[in-house]
Amino acid sequence: MSLQHNITEKLSKFAPEYLTVENESHMHSGPANRETHFRVVMVSDSFEGLNRVKRHQNIYALFEKEFSDGLHALSLHLYAPAEWQGEAPESPSCAGKH
């Protein structure tokens, strides 16, 4: 199972109103077809009442194994339904090899 699929599946358990998981690994150095950098946009009731850090920590906690296995970046744009305005910021382009 691809990492992209795995991330999507784990996040789907939150029953998000909106979810995109994009593989942005091609924007960074490394071999072809790798799965190291992802960008997630997610709208879910579960973020209601949580501050930004806590929302991120809740999601990161699901992927401890993936991070130790080589997942490098998981850019998270997390919204409660009332905050969602239909778009999230783009990721920066790469500035190095790290």
Binding site: H56, A61, P92, C94
Partner: protein
């Protein structure tokens, strides 16, 4: 407690505005660190930084302590503010500047 963890706690306690990043503010080595440092510099306050590429022990230990797997990480007044996504979001909403300027007072 390991020396590294001791070191991290001391850095966080002693620096009101502290950015853990890849590279340094003049030469960030990662797009996420570059964007974070740019937002922070726009706020016009002095801040401390640690280049985690030069300190692999901190790079390994801080994620566990912070409950945060990636870099950059911005710490203000001993609390984790967030990584690139949060720093950028706060900057764009005008929330970052008051936070850091408040942190430099007293």
């Amino acid at each position: 407690m390991s020396d590294t963890l001791e070191n991290i706690k001391q850095q966080i306690a002693e620096n009101d505005i502290l950015l853990y990043m890849k590279g340094n503010p003049n030469q960030p080595m990662c797009g996420f660190s570059a964007r974070a440092v740019q937002a922070l510099m726009s706020c016009g306050e002095r801040f401390a930084y640690v280049d985690i590429l030069e300190h692999q022990d901190i790079r390994a230990e801080l994620p566990k302590f912070a409950n945060w797997p990636t870099f950059p990480q911005l710490w203000v007044k001993g609390e984790l503010v967030g990584g690139c996504d949060i720093i950028t979001d706060m900057f764009e909403k005008g929330e970052l500047q008051p936070l850091v300027s408040e942190a430099t007072k007293a």
